[in-house]
């Protein structure tokens, strides 16, 4: 294969890798990525120059460029999102170059354009599948650059030679040197290995100075919103997109049935929407140990959670239960006083955080001791109900009447709310496929008295409003259910479909208690119900690993890595000191702490370092060097006849020094009957070893082998005589 053909294949593979990266990056660029791969395939089939007629080609690409520019500007103006149109423009330019690959600069242009595509994909991707095109891109780029270096070097060599000899440079493209290509492959692997070492060491910054195209919340559609609007969730509840992964420790597993990831607590209801109305609370700064301390809770039922979260375009910090302390890359945290925590900025990238939470125990007799009606003036915001077109005072009375019918003779708050919860769970139907509401239709009232079918937000809203209608403080919590447990990785995969809303009721002396009125069908997503098979579990584990160590690797992880390595180094040093002291203790007359003891200690440790270095050299570096130098086998083979001749002589009792030169060896044997033959073999060896003419090398090798056979024959005849 010629270098030009190989370069063409590599550049197409690069383009395909870039297309695949865009495809894995997400819905915004997936179609563009597929298009890129399609263009690559067509270019592969058609060839490098299309349309072949220059005049036709010029017209075709000019028209295409015009169309593309109109499309680009329209897209930017209409959708006000820059990244996807820019990616499409880059793909168009790549397509143009792929169909017009003529000169070295065309190849370099494609390298740059495909690199931009890869960069764009990296900026919006959080799927581990990105690793596949990424590695493919690195390897193909390394090989392509190596071949370009060889090609340009040879062209320069030919040009210089043509100037000297007066002959025009060769027109034919040189062939790919297979041995060097395998070396180039090794080089690309070395690049990846160095990148693996460098990646955790690079200091992490995030300035947000330049606006990012990845900030469009549409890219991060997760099912979670800081404003809960009735009938807005149904499309999302079917999405299997992973939003976070949670690893539990402590008492978490034992309390699995009660685990929900709290996101935001909502207290203001306007008839259609729940809005976060609390503007109280305060900011919490990071303490010197890296933690944010939120509240003190009893030690029992402590759940530690490690959460790897994907971009959700929200400020909420999710956790199970009530947060004691949290550790993560937040800057400052705002605690709203309703058990919700917020970052100062929305999350547009993956990150990891650890929270320690407290899950209050449900002491039912204590809860049942709370009377149905209690004077709770300070909690007025949790008793708010609207009086507007969506939910009027009449509606409130109607709900009140319904609630009274349901709770009947219940005389305490817990029983009353539990009856309301059960009423909704048993008498209503859960569905994501709701028919559209009329514009004049009151959604909540229609749900309670007419349709009796809805999803979690209807149920949670209904319970909260029913409780408020009889003077019980309530609020709505929006977050996620725990999702699917992965036994392979020991973590929970939370998807967009696990988005959930539930209700909290206030119990004086105890606090807020969760009630979930959604029927069983709505409490677990289809994904959560399934147990992942081995393959899916394995894939999920890779995904977790990718998120944990690549996407969410941050300054805290770096600090922990450094601290861990420092500990290892410290411990190793201590072990060395202990071992040295133990060794020196074997010398009875040596006084510990004396100058001689200190000097001896240093000497012993130096010896240990030298021995260790030798072990590392012989066990790792030398074999590695041999591996790399393996490509010299062919060269060595060309002079193998000489080594065989030396061994033959040794077998017959002739002592030859390995350090002697060929001529010195020949001189020691010149008095022997085969002395001249050995001298000839030596000359063949020198020719094969040091000539730079391939023809001479081949000839010398053939001569050397013939002479070696003659030497063998000579020895055989000598043996026969003796």
């Amino acid at each position: 294969m010629t270098i030009v053909s190989a370069l063409r294949i590599l550049v197409l593979l690069q383009a395909a890798a870039a297309g695949l990266a865009l495809t894995t990056a997400g819905s915004g660029t997936a179609a563009t990525g597929v298009l890129m791969m399609l263009i690559t395939a067509i270019s592969w089939v058609i060839g490098g120059n299309w349309p072949s007629n220059p005049r036709r080609s010029k017209y075709f690409w000019n028209i295409m460029a015009l169309v593309m520019m109109i499309f680009f500007l329209s897209e930017v103006i209409v959708f006000r999102d820059l990244l996807p149109p820019v990616v499409r423009l880059v793909v168009f330019l790549t397509a143009y170059k792929l169909f017009n690959l003529n000169f070295n600069r065309d190849y370099f242009t494609v390298y740059m354009l495909t690199f931009l595509q890869l960069l764009a994909a990296a900026s919006i991707s959080y799927d581990y599948m990105f690793a596949i095109p990424f590695i493919l891109y690195i390897i193909t780029s390394a090989l392509a650059l190596v071949l370009q270096t060889i090609k340009m070097g040879r062209e320069r060599e030919q040009f210089t030679r043509s100037l000297i000899t007066g002959m025009s440079p060769a027109v034919d493209s040189p062939r790919v040197p297979a041995r060097r290509l395998s070396g180039a492959f090794l080089i690309s692997i070395t690049v990846i290995a160095i990148a693996v070492v460098v990646f955790p060491l690079l200091p992490r910054f995030r300035t947000d100075i330049i606006a990012s195209g990845a900030r469009n919340p549409l890219h991060h559609l997760s099912g979670f919103s800081e404003i809960v609007s009735l009938d807005a969730l149904s499309d999302i509840k079917t999405s299997g997109r992973v939003v976070m992964r949670v690893t539990l420790s402590g008492d978490g597993e034992a309390l699995r049935e009660r685990l929900r990831l709290r996101g935001i607590t909502l207290s203001y209801f306007d008839g259609n929407r729940w809005i976060h109305s609390n503007r109280g609370g305060g900011y919490i700064s990071r303490s010197s140990d890296g933690n944010y301390y939120i509240n003190d809770y009893p030690d029992e039922r402590n759940i530690q959670q490690e959460i790897l979260i994907n971009p959700l375009s929200t400020r909420a910090i999710f956790s199970i239960g009530l947060t004691e302390r949290v550790r993560g890359p937040f800057g400052r945290i705002w605690a709203d006083g309703m058990s919700s925590l917020f970052m100062t900025k929305r999350n547009f990238s993956q990150f990891r955080y650890v929270t320690n939470n407290y899950l209050p125990s449900l002491d039912i007799p204590v809860l049942q001791a709370v009377p149905l009606h209690n004077e709770e003036r300070t909690l007025a915001q949790y008793l708010q109900l609207p009086n507007n077109a969506s939910f009027s005072l009449t509606d409130r009375y109607q709900v009140q009447e319904l609630v009274r019918q349901i709770i009947g003779n219940a005389d305490n708050r817990y029983d009353a709310v539990r009856r309301l919860e059960q009423y909704l769970k048993t008498q209503f139907e859960y569905s994501l496929e709701l028919s559209r509401y009329r514009n004049d239709e009151k959604k909540l009232m229609s749900f309670l008295f007419d349709r009796r079918i809805g999803h979690c937000e209807y149920f949670a809203t209904a319970l909260a409003v029913m409780a408020r209608s009889i003077g019980i403080p309530s609020r709505l919590v929006n977050g996620f259910q725990m999702g699917q447990y992965n036994p392979f990785g020991g973590f929970y995969t939370v998807r967009a479909a696990d988005a959930h809303s539930w209700t909290e009721i206030y119990f004086p002396g105890h606090g807020w208690v969760e009630f979930d009125p959604t029927p069983a069908g709505g409490q677990e997503s289809n994904f959560a119900a399934e147990t992942p098979n081995f393959f899916m579990g394995f894939i999920e584990s890779i995904d977790l690993w990718w998120t944990q160590y690549i996407l969410a690797f941050d300054a805290i992880d770096q600090y922990e890595l450094y601290a861990g390595l420092s500990n290892v180094a410290r411990e190793a040093l201590k072990a060395v000191n202990r071992a040295t002291d133990a060794l020196l203790a074997l010398i009875p007359a040596l006084e510990a702490g004396s100058l001689f003891h200190t000097i001896l200690r240093i000497i012993v440790q130096l010896i240990a370092v030298i021995i260790l270095s030798l072990i590392v050299y012989s066990a790792i570096l030398r074999p590695l060097a041999k591996l790399i130098m393996g490509s010299r086998k062919q060269d060595d083979q060309q002079i193998s006849f000489f080594q065989q001749a030396v061994e033959l002589l040794k077998r017959h009792g002739y002592e030859l020094q390995e350090t002697s030169t060929v001529r010195e060896m020949a001189m020691t044997l010149e008095t022997e009957s085969f002395g001249k033959l050995f001298s000839d073999i030596g000359r063949s060896y020198e020719m094969a070893r040091f000539s730079h003419d391939d023809l001479l090398i081949r000839r010398a090798y053939a001569q050397g082998k013939r002479r070696l056979e003659l030497l063998r024959t000579a020895f055989e005849s000598l043996s026969g005589k003796s």
């Binding site: 390394a142 190596v146 370009q148 060097r180």
Partner: protein
């Protein structure tokens, strides 16, 4: 034979960013800014790979140039504006990595143009010979600071240069012009229209038909008029006759300002006469103020004259209109005076004077 062989006495390494490297550096910067702006770890991952590529480039080019021995051989005579073949000898000792993509060059020496030889691969224990072309722009004595070997393996983004240092004086002779006809003709008829050529001696051998490529100045007008066809003169070489080339670097006191270009043209004319004379096996004497190089005194008088011309500088000091430099000449000696800075000096009868006007004409022709 003056062979210049530079062995490795000392070496040092330089790194340079190459053409593709600037693009690489630009993208590195873009990725760095994107990473710092977004805090996106995948962009940091790309940055790590780019850093890895730089590190590998640095490491492998360094290993490629390790255990390398380079010597070089320059031609015996090097003339300005003329391409000469430069030979490098490279060998590689024990090393982890073979020598890859090596480009050889020289450092110092008046910064000549050079078509650098390129070696794709140099294995352990191998010795190879390479040829390159170089061309100096001007005459003079320069100091070559050493041979350089540059490796841009594997990605062509960074080139590492190792200098095999040794200071060496190199004499670059003046540029050679194709004016051998002056010697072949003995001057006759060549510059008939040029009043600066005086006292021409004979040597017309033949008159023949014009062949494309012949010098129009050698047209035989009378024969052309008679025959109606272009006829040209052929000259006989004056075998055994002594040629005396005198070079005058001095400008007359009465002359206006000197011209460097004129002087350089004159130096080249003198060098060309020596060069062509030697090629044609002529007996020649060379002289200049304070210098006389004759074959019976100087065994290598051609080279000595070229050495003189390599360094000669213009000077003021010609006091007389008829200098005494050429006194003692014999009648059978064919004297050519190269006097590029003057046009009114009387060099005596029977002397061809290639003076300022000739130098001007020559420059015009060469332009």
């Amino acid at each position: 034979m003056p062979k210049l062989t530079l062995k490795i006495l000392s070496s040092r390494n330089d790194y340079e960013i190459q053409g593709a490297g600037y693009k690489f550096a630009f993208f590195f910067l873009v990725v760095l800014i994107a990473g710092i702006n977004t805090g996106n770890n995948l962009i940091y991952l790309i940055l790590s790979v780019l850093t890895g590529a730089v590190a590998v480039s640095w490491l492998i080019s360094w290993l490629s140039l390790r255990s390398l021995e380079v010597s070089m051989r320059l031609p015996d005579e090097i003339y300005a504006l003329e391409e000469s073949v430069l030979e490098f000898f490279a060998s590689k000792g024990p090393s982890l990595v073979r020598g890859h993509s090596l480009t050889f060059s020289i450092r110092g020496g008046g910064e000549p143009d050079i078509h650098q030889p390129y070696l794709e691969l140099l294995g352990k224990g191998e010795r190879k010979r390479l040829q390159g072309l170089f061309r100096f722009h001007r005459r003079g004595v320069f100091t070559l600071t050493g041979a350089t070997v540059t490796c841009n393996w594997p990605f062509g983004i960074i080139s590492k240069t190792r200098v095999f240092k040794q200071d060496r004086r190199v004499t670059i002779y003046p540029a050679i012009f194709a004016i051998e006809e002056i010697l072949k003709s003995g001057g006759e008829g060549m510059f008939a229209a040029d009043s600066s050529i005086r006292g021409l001696t004979g040597g017309l051998l033949n008159v023949r038909q014009f062949i494309p490529g012949d010098d129009y100045r050698h047209l035989h007008w009378k024969a052309t008029a008679k025959t109606g066809e272009l006829m040209i003169k052929e000259f006989a070489r004056e075998k055994g006759r002594m040629f005396w080339v005198h070079f005058n670097p001095q400008r007359h006191f009465s002359a206006t300002t000197g011209d460097k270009e004129l002087f350089e043209a004159g130096v080249s004319v003198a060098a060309s006469l020596a060069y062509h004379g030697r090629s044609d096996g002529l007996k020649m004497i060379f002289s200049a103020p304070g210098l006389r190089l004759a074959p019976e005194v100087n065994s290598d008088h051609f080279k000595n004259f070229l050495d003189y011309l390599a360094e000669v500088k213009p000077a003021r000091g010609l006091k007389s209109d008829r200098p005494a430099s050429l006194t003692g000449r014999r009648r059978d000696e064919f004297v050519i005076v190269v006097d590029p800075l003057n046009d009114d000096v009387d060099w005596g009868p029977g002397t061809i004077v290639l003076d300022k006007r000739y130098a001007l004409d020559l420059m015009e022709v060469r332009k």
